[in-house]
């Protein structure tokens, strides 16, 4: 059989080709375009009572008493009313990791504003909120820790009793002799940088609905989660139900981006409540809860030293990173994941002789930190790429040239980085070169010279990054995680009428997997991808699997679907050859038929035989046409996508406003399954990266009170803030994955903060201003300019 580069059977390709690589529209669009998506709040289960949580108004306090009006006592459930529910304990398997518990609802101490204390149940949410408002909690207020650096500095106010300080974990990746490098370096770029705390903001909030199914004798938990199987496993343990007597269903999800990729305290509380009441109970997160009580993201502080020679060749990197992980450790990731990720990937696509990383995870009285698109990497990329641009400036060269010269070369692949990551394939410098062509750097510099009038400046910024995806078994082990997410499973099932169902354990909430997985099946089986049904999001409909996160689903579930449908293809061919009275080698699959020369037999006929008339099967062939498989990539170290972003911005120093004039992405995610979907993911990630760069911030005051609890204070990028990026692809298949596919869901969000902030700094380079903090708000820009103006001798007559 002919195989193409990515191992795909060429002869199975229908006309027009709609398998792996084809730009086809999405199967899942139809129900959403009809307004018929079914999200958690849409479920209509008779008798459902709604839950509102009573949440802490203080950031740190000991609960002295909880007063519940007598009329509402039966509608209010405290932790003590729920029976023996274990607290969540999310740890790394490392002796130095400091352990803490996160109860589903606070029992004695609250540690952030918004922490749940009680569940209030009523027929409507409004009434449930009335009950919640009637509860009075008396606190002994405790000292509040808000400032990241103070917390890291060993301040004495302790968040978890018995701890000597608030530091959870310190990781120290690296290699080489940094002191030797420091001695010989001509240039040292030394900077402090900060990526402030953010919320995730899925447009649909989180939500949980649970009830007892009397007939099946199981506890059914609907949750807006990215990982239903994993949630069942941990919920069962925490609330004391056997796993085979629990079903977790994730319906349509209105965006997740990581915030639905944790065990949620509310899942525990609602499931535990459903165990003891005889009606369904549901909690729908509202926007204020989302902004103050969901897992949050980022809050990194960097102290970086980049060593280079006088031509801009990087010699080494010395980095200390402090991440403020909030008050608790989130399961299964632990509160240290963010920081460990940052220091693990800081060197990015660059070669260097020495790297010394130190990642310090500290706690504070803020909501816990969880995964959000990019996990650690938007900050790491921002910090590293800011330094690269500053290095270029220092040695008087163009930033893109510096990048090209310092990057790992394609002939060095696979390449083990100074931080110990194994890059599988790619041509990093090519992404920069292509990007530079698309931007036309020389012509930009000409325009830039002309263009600094009336306080308006234009700037060009770059960001290159490597995006580890489809992290395998080895990777999770090396991170000391309690759960190992190195595989995915799938069942491929023909129905007796000849149609195909794929049952997978990942979830699809925007990524297009109802289309791209069908394209994989189309490639193996020669079926019409628009007619493949993908079932997911339900522990009752698929084999066990780990869920959709960390840009893993296309590689992992795609691989599993490929393997399962390949197995089916073999059997279909055997049956078809038998019916056609020819040999196995002389048949192929095309357009839903087994074909041999001029003759063919449709799959409906194959399935009739396989399911209903076994007497017509080949000798020794078992009835049925179903295959269940598990798949893990050949290497458990991950598949590495990469990209270079370039942003052209306009900075108005009169107002501090920034406008993005042009945005270019040159991207490589190995074999592309569907270019339309890939571009959609890049553009969508980019929007979130722009939010990170310019708009989104969740600040806290010194009492630990959140200052952004509505969309009036928490700004999201909208239609006028996000330009349409110009996107080009490079395709370097991964040697480790089926079809050479790499994940790519996060990259847009990883590169944008760095590219945009670099562009702003390029625009302001002649004003004496440098901004190394996100988001770059008008206040930060104008204040930086004012500061620069007051430190230089010029006063009036300059930009302010």
């Amino acid at each position: 059989m002919e195989k193409n580069e990515s191992g795909v059977d060429e002869k199975n390709r229908q006309q027009p080709f709609r398998g792996i690589g084809a730009r086809i529209n999405r199967n899942e669009d139809a129900r959403f375009l009809d307004g018929k998506g079914e999200y958690l709040a849409d479920l209509n289960i008779p008798g459902t009572q709604e839950v509102a949580f009573s949440r802490s108004p203080v950031a740190h306090g000991r609960i002295l008493s909880i007063e519940i009006p007598e009329e509402f006592r039966s509608q209010v459930f405290l932790m003590s009313d729920l029976g023996n529910i274990k607290p969540v304990r999310a740890v790394l398997n490392h002796p130095d990791f400091r352990v803490s518990d996160f109860p589903a609802m606070a029992t004695d101490v609250v540690r952030f504003v918004g922490e749940a204390i009680a569940m209030c149940v009523a027929p409507t949410r409004a009434e449930a909120e009335d009950v919640a408002q009637s509860i009075f909690v008396d606190f002994e207020e405790l000292p509040v820790v808000v400032d990241t650096l103070e917390s890291a500095g060993g301040r004495t106010e302790i968040i978890h009793e018995g701890w000597p300080n608030n530091t959870v974990f310190i990781s120290k990746p690296g290699n080489g002799d940094i002191d030797a490098v420091a001695k010989k370096a001509d240039v040292i770029i030394s900077r402090e940088l900060r990526m402030n705390r953010q919320c995730v903001v899925s447009l649909e909030g989180r939500g949980v609905l649970a009830y007892q199914d009397r007939r099946l004798q199981e506890l059914v938990v609907y949750s807006s989660t990215q990982q239903p199987h994993i949630i069942r496993t941990i919920l069962a343990k925490l609330i004391g139900v056997d796993e085979h007597k629990m079903r977790v269903v994730a319906p349509d999800i209105g965006g997740a981006f990581g915030v639905k990729n944790n065990l949620q305290q509310e899942e525990v509380a609602i499931a535990a409540l459903a165990k003891i009441v005889d009606f369904p109970v549901r909690w729908i997160e509202d926007r204020r809860e989302h902004l103050i009580a969901s897992a949050q993201a980022r809050e990194h502080h960097y102290s970086m030293k980049l060593y280079a020679d006088k031509n801009g060749r990087i010699l080494g990197l010395d980095a200390e990173v402090i991440v403020d992980a909030g008050a608790y450790s989130i399961w299964p990731w632990s509160c240290a994941m963010e920081c460990n990720m940052v220091v693990g990937v800081l060197p990015g696509p660059y070669k260097m002789e020495a790297y010394r990383g130190k990642g310090i995870t500290v706690l504070s009285n803020k909501p816990p930190l969880g995964p959000y698109r990019g996990v650690g990497r938007p900050g790491a990329c921002f910090a590293m790429e800011r330094l690269i641009d500053e290095l270029a400036r220092e040695v008087g060269r163009e930033p893109h040239e510096i990048r090209i010269e310092n990057m790992v070369e394609p002939d060095q692949m696979p390449f083990t980085t100074i931080a110990g990551k194994l890059y599988d394939s790619g041509n990093f410098p090519q992404s920069v070169r292509k990007c530079a062509e698309m931007i036309n750097v020389e012509s930009f510099r000409e325009r830039q010279k002309l263009n600094a009038k009336n306080g308006i400046h234009i700037g060009l910024g770059w960001a290159s990054y490597v995006e580890q995806t489809a992290h395998g078994t080895n990777e999770w082990l090396s991170r000391n995680l309690s759960e190992i997410f190195g595989y995915e499973s799938a069942t491929a099932r023909f129905t007796p009428d000849g149609n195909l169902i794929l049952e997978v354990a990942i979830h699809n909430h925007g990524q297009g997997l109802e289309t791209t997985l069908a394209q994989v099946a189309a490639t193996e089986l020669g079926v019409d991808p628009t007619n493949v049904v993908i079932r997911y999001g339900d522990t009752a409909v698929s084999p066990y699997g780990l869920g959709t996160f960390a840009s893993r689903s296309m590689v992992m579930a795609g691989g599993a679907v490929g393997k399962a449908t390949e197995e089916l293809a073999e059997k279909v061919k055997r049956i078809g050859a038998h019916i056609l009275e020819t040999t196995f080698d002389s048949v192929l699959l095309r357009d839903g038929m087994v074909v041999s020369g001029e003759r063919s037999v449709p799959f409906s006929e194959i399935c009739r035989v396989a399911y209903r008339h076994a007497q017509d099967l080949p000798p020794n062939e078992e009835p049925g046409l179903t295959a269940t498989v598990a798949y893990q990539p050949e290497s458990g170290t991950g598949a590495f996508s990469y990209a270079t972003h370039a942003a052209e911005v306009l900075v108005d120093t009169n107002s501090g406003l920034v406008k993005i004039d042009d945005y270019v992405v040159v991207h490589d995610c190995g074999t592309i399954v569907n270019p339309m979907v890939v571009e959609g993911q890049i553009q969508g990630g980019l929007a979130q990266g722009i939010g990170n760069a310019l708009y989104e911030e969740s600040p806290y005051d010194s009492n630990g009170q959140p200052l952004a609890s509505t969309f009036l204070d928490y700004l999201l990028p909208g239609f006028t803030e996000v330009p349409t990026a110009r996107i080009e692809h490079i395709e370097s298949p991964s040697p480790f994955t089926r079809y050479g596919v790499k994940g790519m869901g996060e990259g847009g969000a990883i590169g944008a903060p760095a590219a945009v902030v670099n562009a702003i700094n390029d625009a302001l380079k002649n004003t004496g201003v440098e901004i190394n903090e996100t988001p770059v708000s008008p206040r930060r820009i104008l204040t930086a300019i004012q500061r620069a103006a007051s430190t230089s001798d010029s006063n009036e007559g300059n930009n302010l």
């Binding site: 949410r125 009169n654 107002s655 700004l715 909208g718 803030e721 708000s777 008008p778 104008l782």
Partner: protein, 282 residues
């Protein structure tokens, strides 16, 4: 995020509406478009006992045009100004202001009177109405009264309208055909509340020349020096810009508003953009 319980009445006359407010000592509140109030109710930030819906009262939907003014009912919606469904008294200024308020869906419901009555310091209507010298017709148990623009806005979220009173209509003097207007606001993203905003009007024929500044969380202020300078200034030039900047700084000094450098700069930008557009574009 659901409101606490409250009563709702929709009186069929202005008098009944006044009564519906008056028979409560506390907690009566008017609702028109509800585009600011209902979010506050949903957040449980606006305690109240009774909502009095005045959005359909004829007196508040009135529209009267005379030779020198237009009387706009308080419940005329932003979109009606945007779409020129009501007469224009201001050479397009009010249409320009309306078209920039929040988003279309909000403009379809929100009313000029509601916006004025809430007096959010970043609301769009306030600086133009002060600059235009609008008059506000207010009704209460004691009867009708008229409030001048200069006395109407007493601070962020506070106006001259009492708890038991209703803003019925706004009378906007017509500008002459030669009048020049400018309106500019600085927003971080389209439709968001402004960080700084300004309206400038120069109507030599009517002897009207006002530059009014608004700024997040601050009472709007008329800038006397800038207004005076605007009255007689010639064509826009770099020198004029520099002079405006100086007069603006003087205004801010007199208003004791020099301490927040960030605000000072933002407001300066809003003022300079506004006077430039008044002089150059209109």
């Amino acid at each position: 995020m659901k409101p606490p319980p409250f009563d709702y009445v929709r009186p069929d006359s202005l008098q009944a509406a006044v009564g519906a407010l008056a028979d409560l000592e506390w907690g009566g509140r008017l609702i028109a478009g509800g585009q600011s109030l209902v979010p506050m109710l949903n957040l449980r930030l606006a305690p109240l006992v009774r909502l009095v819906d005045v959005s359909r009262l004829e007196e508040l939907r009135c529209l009267e045009e005379t030779s020198d003014a237009v009387l706009f009912g308080a419940c005329i919606r932003h979109a009606e100004f945007e779409d020129s469904e009501v007469p224009d008294a201001t050479n397009g200024l009010m249409q320009q202001v309306a078209a920039g308020i929040a988003y279309r869906a909000i403009r379809n419901r929100g009313t000029i009177g509601g916006s004025v009555s809430l007096a959010d310091p970043s609301a769009d209507w306030i600086t133009p109405l002060i600059a235009l010298g609008a008059r506000f017709n207010i009704v209460g148990q004691e009867g009708k009264r008229v409030c001048q623009a200069a006395d109407m806005f007493t601070g962020p979220y506070t106006t001259n309208v009492g708890d038991h009173e209703i803003l019925v209509s706004i009378e906007v003097p017509k500008l002459s055909a030669e009048a020049q207007t400018g309106y500019y606001k600085i927003v971080r993203k389209a439709g968001e509340f402004a960080m700084a905003m300004c309206t400038a009007i120069r109507d030599k024929q009517h002897g009207l020349c006002n530059v009014v500044l608004g700024c997040a969380n601050r009472k709007q202020i008329l800038l006397p020096n800038s207004s005076t300078y605007l009255a007689d200034v010639g064509e826009w030039s770099d020198q004029v810009r520099a002079d405006f900047r100086a007069s603006y700084r003087k205004d801010m000094q007199q208003a004791n508003r020099m301490e927040d450098l960030y605000e000072l700069k933002l407001c300066e930008t809003a003022v300079l953009q506004t006077v430039e557009s008044a002089l150059v574009n209109s």
